[in-house]
């Protein structure tokens, strides 16, 4: 990913997604959204439920197709990028296969794409060490805690060294303590892998702590309201102390104001606008 600086990791160009309803005009999940993510950049999508942030991620992953507009991943159409395995993906649910061990789960994408047994073993061991689960390689998912399962899922998403990681609220189901620890780990992993990340969350501190840029979205129809550049410095420099940093708090309140902005404006249907967003 050294010479790809000219080609953006993700280029979303005036994309709309309308879900057809049985009667009525259908639901506009995304309305004319454009977004560019540079290689190696960490971008969070934040907004209340129904703002289309997960839909946008699914469109980038080509798990869903836009109604209009175009999406390119590393200069290729999203479908091509998926077939070429240009990204790794992690969901809110770890989605591990319960009949496979931790190592077996991490090897899954490699196995499906025809990587040899020895290479698979080696790569899995590397990733298990990266997420700090070396003692659990031969455990089954039901023997692990939620946080550990999610770490396995993240290791699996990194298996093929993607230059782009798509993460859909991967820490959404975890408790706050585990969550902060996982965020610290993700920052470290991102610094090591140099991958671009598109990260869906509904937690403001999470978005600010992790990101180079935070994309604030608004619901019904899903639009990008504003993009906040966090500017907290390089990934490798981000640590636990950053959470006490003044710049961190400044960005925090900037994102919060943007999310709550139209509530102050008093527009009726936007009253519920920031519901579902954690402001703690």
């Amino acid at each position: 990913m050294t010479n790809t600086t000219s080609v953006p990791a993700v280029d979303v160009h005036s994309v709309s997604r309308i879900f057809a309803a049985r009667k009525g005009p259908g639901v506009t999940a995304l309305d004319d959204v454009s977004l560019t993510v540079a290689p190696g950049e960490f971008v969070s999508l934040i907004g209340p439920s129904g703002c289309g942030k997960s839909t946008l991620l699914r469109l980038v992953a080509d798990l869903d197709v836009p109604t209009s507009g175009s999406i390119e991943v590393f200069g290729k159409p999203a479908r091509r990028a998926r077939i070429d395995q240009s990204y790794g993906i992690a969901f809110q649910q770890a989605g591990l296969l319960p009949w496979r061990t931790v190592a077996g789960n991490i090897e899954l994408p490699l196995e499906l794409h025809g990587v040899g047994k020895a290479a698979r073993r080696g790569r899995a061991a590397e990733l298990i060490a990266l997420v700090g689960l070396s003692d659990f390689a031969s455990h089954y998912p039901d023997q692990l805690s939620g946080g550990m399962q999610q770490r396995v899922a993240i290791a699996r998403s990194l298996a093929e060294s993607p230059s782009l990681l798509l993460m859909d609220e991967p820490f959404g189901a975890l408790d706050e303590m585990t969550r902060e620890r996982m965020q610290n780990e993700l920052v470290r992993i991102c610094a090591e892998t140099q991958a671009a990340v598109v990260f869906v969350t509904h937690s403001i501190p999470e978005a600010v702590f992790l990101s180079n840029r935070v994309v604030v979205m608004s619901p019904r129809p899903g639009r990008i309201r504003s993009i906040v550049s966090v500017g907290l410095g390089d990934m490798s420099g981000r640590g636990e102390d950053l959470r006490e940093d003044e710049g961190f708090f400044r960005s925090l309140s900037e994102v919060r104001d943007l999310l709550h902005g139209d509530e102050a404006a008093g527009a009726g249907h936007n009253q519920a606008g920031a519901r579902g967003v954690e402001t703690r």
Binding site: A61, D62, L63, Q85, I89, L97, P98, L112
Partner: protein
């Protein structure tokens, strides 16, 4: 076995004590009330006949057991294979649904006389086919249901991996379906024995348990008839337990 163990006394001894008590009561009633053997023979008489004709009963169990097993294998393979095809091709599923539904309400053993004329009364084929048909239905339905249990997150994952339909089937769909397949097989295992046995009532070569029960009863040898019934129960239990053990071994991890 993480819960407090109920102990050997409760799990093993209690049913044995209960069983022995029932048999003794039965024996007491038959002798006490002088019930005729053609109505209900005494358990000791049945036991004596069973022990005395052990070779014949065992021979019958082998014949009927082989038919059941062949039927079970054929029915299970067909049921699983067709369920996979139906799960992959929606159209085929919709086409097959009424036929399989019709098949499930046909009293399959009633087909036996027709099959005997098709394959000849001297062959065991008709019985094996009856067993296979009886097995096919629960295996097909359970497998098809299991194949539809794939979690959305796993489906997304497979799409993200851009794998072929067959790869996704092998990696996710089949392992997810496995517990359901084995539930179907467990139900089917005893059905196979019952069907193969009942099919013998309608004709075909002698030697199986069903034929032996009818011939012993028609020659007024009620104790012996019941001895063959006892053999049938043992055979059915053996099939059921074997299926149960295989199920436990295979689905230890996949059960959620």
């Amino acid at each position: 076995m993480r819960t407090a163990q109920p102990g050997l006394v409760q799990t093993v001894l209690a049913p044995i004590v209960f069983g022995v008590a029932v048999i003794l009561l039965w024996q007491g009633l038959v002798t006490g009330l002088a019930i005729k053997a053609f109505i209900l023979p005494a358990p000791f008489a049945i036991g004596a006949e069973f022990a005395g004709n052990l070779n014949n009963v065992a021979g019958g169990m082998v014949v009927t057991g082989r038919n059941s097993l062949i039927g079970l294998v054929i029915g299970a393979v067909l049921g699983i294979a067709l369920a996979i095809v139906a799960a992959l091709a929606r159209l085929l599923d919709e086409m097959a649904a009424p036929i399989v539904a019709a098949l499930s309400v046909v009293p399959i053993v009633a087909l036996a006389p027709v099959l005997y004329t098709m394959f000849g009364a001297g062959a065991e084929t008709a019985r094996q086919l009856v067993a296979a048909l009886a097995v096919f239905v629960p295996v097909y339905f359970n497998t098809l249901k299991g194949l539809r249990q794939v979690r959305p997150v796993h489906r997304d994952l497979m799409r993200a991996y851009a794998v072929t339909g067959w790869q996704a089937t092998r990696a996710v769909t089949l392992p997810t379906a496995l517990p359901y397949v084995f539930t179907g097989l467990r139900v089917a295992s005893s059905l196979a024995v019952i069907s193969a046995l009942i099919a013998e009532y309608f004709g075909g070569p002698v030697g199986g348990l069903g034929k032996s029960i009818t011939s012993a009863a028609s020659s007024s040898n009620y104790g012996l008839a019941w001895a063959y019934v006892l053999g049938s129960i043992i055979l059915g239990l053996a099939f059921y337990c074997a299926a149960l053990i295989v199920e436990k071994l295979v689905t230890r991890r996949s059960g959620g």
